[in-house]
């Protein structure tokens, strides 16, 4: 039983950066903007968080700085693909290269520096619940913050006018434009807010998982998050399930070996992407056969004001 709980605890730890990044992606894509720059933004967030943590010793400042800087960097994506109307795919990829390069460049001198990782805080009362208690309610503060972010982004997207506007712009920007909503502003804010969350996902690496700086610290998690946004049907609550499922797969791979169970590592490694392809297939089938639209209809499209389509 302890062994099983340890897997779940590790799954939440591994899933948390994915969760932040996926939530960021969901918000951005709900407004119709694909962000393939997640890996780069996570690295920027990770570097900024580490540098600030190192110099101030404050987790709070570290997270705030990572949020602000990755928000600023994601604005580049906003400017390029919204105002300059470049391809979102190309701009996102460029953002990944930019983030990877910037973090490598500025992180060059940080080798060997370490910080104290976030400590676990157990929530009185809740942590005594069997299984769920130690897994969900004996974690660090950023994990609790991620729960809050899930609830807040769900509430924002589905229960507020702001969320309705964002979702509508992701579905039918021309209609929203005719109703007087500024498509570009909403999209720009969504990309920026999404970028901020992705940055926190990056910050989780040096603040909790691996409390030092090493080039490429996220090791491709940003790409898994890109896939997770689709896997989660562009929904914050499902993003939680998806992120933890993938975290579970990462944690399971190691623990299966302890149990002496032979499962090809290549199978587990390709699992996120296979599942994503399956989900995409499902989405398309449902769309074609039943007319159930899950993917934001205007996702990835360039919006030209006043032009007929």
């Amino acid at each position: 039983m302890d062994f099983f709980i340890q897997i779940l605890i590790a799954a939440v730890g591994m899933g948390t950066p994915l969760l932040f990044a996926t939530l960021g992606g969901v918000i951005s894509e709900r407004a119709g903007v694909i962000n393939l720059g997640m890996e780069g933004l996570m690295l920027v967030g990770a570097l900024v968080a580490f540098v600030v943590m190192l110099n101030t010793g404050s987790y709070f400042y570290a997270v705030v700085a990572a949020t602000v800087v990755s928000g600023l960097v994601s604005m580049i994506h906003g400017i390029v693909c919204l105002m300059l109307r470049a391809s979102q795919i190309a701009s996102g990829l460029a953002l990944t290269f930019l983030g990877t390069g910037l973090s490598g460049l500025f992180g060059d001198k940080l080798m060997g520096e370490t910080v104290e990782p976030l400590s676990r805080i157990s929530i009185p009362g809740l942590h005594a619940i069997p299984v769920l208690g130690p897994v969900l309610f004996n974690q660090d503060i950023l994990v609790y913050f991620s729960y809050l972010c899930v609830v807040l982004s769900w509430w924002m997207l589905f229960k507020t006018r702001l969320g309705l506007n964002i979702r509508s712009i992701g579905e039918a920007p021309e209609v929203c434009d005719s109703l007087g909503l500024s498509v570009l502003s909403y999209r720009f804010y969504a990309v920026t807010a999404g970028g901020m969350l992705i940055g926190i996902g990056g910050a989780y690496f040096p603040l909790a998982l691996t409390p030092f700086w090493v080039d490429g610290i996220t090791a491709g998690r940003g790409w898994i998050a890109v896939a997770l946004v689709i896997f989660a049907f562009w929904h914050p609550i499902k993003a939680l399930g998806g992120a933890y499922l993938f975290g579970f797969a990462l944690a399971l791979e190691l623990r299966l070996q302890i149990l002496g169970i032979d499962l090809s590592p290549y199978f587990l490694k390709m699992l996120p992407y296979v599942l994503t392809i399956l989900v995409l297939t499902l989405v398309t089938i449902r769309n074609n056969r039943y007319g159930i639209q899950v993917m934001p209809a205007a996702l990835g499209t360039v919006f030209f004001r006043g032009e007929k389509h």
Partner: protein, 348 residues
């Protein structure tokens, strides 16, 4: 007619020009990880810096995926006289580019394929691992060493076996558990693997992966760790017993000099402890002198050539006894575990 002759002369000069070194040969490096990994690639880059200090023009490309390396290797071959490719997976792409650039010299690290202008090189890191494990085995109170394995290839299996045999020098009953992360570099997963090993009872962690994440986790859990490839003490000196490290400069300076002098020949270099290409860093203050003496005795035997790790008999995990010394070929293709390792060997 005149133009044709001129063209021919120019071509001849170009061919001659490229085969005669203009000054010191320039050297290109293709790295699998970032130079800031504080491990494998960082160690190679220290070697490159030594060449730079010796007056060679160098450049490098880092984080080159093995599957996409051919393009980068070709680019380096156009730019430089000598190209070092420093990951196992670069072997076939390097061979292909070497055939297309017969006037350039290619050196591939950790592989086995060669050509007229392509050599492979490596160091007997397993000797250093063996010595480090003597320390690890002596420092484990619970009698269990946890190894974070990277990619399950013969090289890493050889290192793991050396660690088991070395640790048995200090504690014949030591148990060695291995977890494969199936990646060269993934700090979060390396951490998680170290944590899983510690949760399962290990109190000395040895990593085969490229980052210092395991040293950090060991420090947090109050257990010891052995660093990999470079000195990782800066990441947690409380935990860091020693590290088995690469000193690539020893080889790079020698190989490049041979090319410069025209004495270079394609072959397979597998340098040992005696050359200085591998070694140990300074020890944790907790390590008792008696243990260091024990390790030094074994080191002396390896240095003098009296003994090597796999040449004086050992027992495989399945209980069969190997009495003959293993050849280099057998060591390069190692797929079995020795006795004392409690995990199952990787399949395939």
């Amino acid at each position: 007619m005149f133009a044709k002759i001129t063209g021919l002369i120019v071509t001849i000069f170009l061919i001659l020009g490229s085969s005669v070194w203009a000054g010191k040969p320039s050297v290109g490096f293709v790295y699998v990880g970032p130079i800031g990994d504080g491990g494998w690639t960082y160690a190679h880059d220290l070697g490159r810096k030594a060449l730079e200090a010796a007056g060679h023009e160098t450049s490098y490309v880092e984080s080159v995926p093995e599957g996409d390396s051919e393009r980068v290797i070709r680019k380096m071959a156009r730019k430089h006289d000598i190209v070092f490719t420093t990951s196992f997976g670069y072997m076939d792409p390097t061979l292909k580019v070497a055939k297309q650039h017969p006037d350039k010299v290619f050196l591939h690290c950790s592989g086995f394929k060669q050509d007229k202008n392509m050599a492979n090189y490596f160091g007997r890191m397993y000797q250093a691992k063996y010595l480090a494990a003597i320390i690890a085995g002596g420092m484990s109170k619970k009698g269990r060493i946890g190894i974070v394995g990277s990619q399950p290839i013969p090289e890493i299996i050889r290192h793991i076996n050396s660690i088991a045999l070395g640790a048995q020098q200090s504690n014949p009953d030591i148990e060695v558990e291995v977890l494969w992360i199936n990646s060269w570099f993934d700090p979060a997963k390396e951490s998680d693997a170290a944590q899983a090993l510690i949760d399962n009872g290990a109190d000395v962690i040895v990593t085969m992966a490229d980052s210092a994440a395991t040293v950090q986790v060991s420090k947090k859990n109050g257990v010891y760790a052995i660093g990999n490839d470079t000195d990782m003490a800066i990441y947690g000196k409380e935990a860091h017993l020693t590290a088995a490290v690469w000193n690539w400069d020893v080889y790079y300076l020698e190989a490049v000099k041979a090319v410069e002098n025209g004495t270079w020949k394609a072959g397979s270099d597998w340098w040992g402890l005696d050359s200085g290409i591998v070694g140990l860093t300074s020890f944790h203050p907790d390590v008792p002198q008696s243990l260091i003496r024990k390790m030094n005795k074994e080191r002396g035997k390896i240095l003098s050539g009296a003994m090597d790790v796999f040449d004086h008999g050992f027992t495989k995990q399945d209980g069969t006894r190997v009495t003959k010394a293993l050849t280099d070929g057998e060591m390069l293709g190692m797929k079995f575990y020795v006795k004392g390792i409690i995990s199952k060997p990787p399949s395939g």
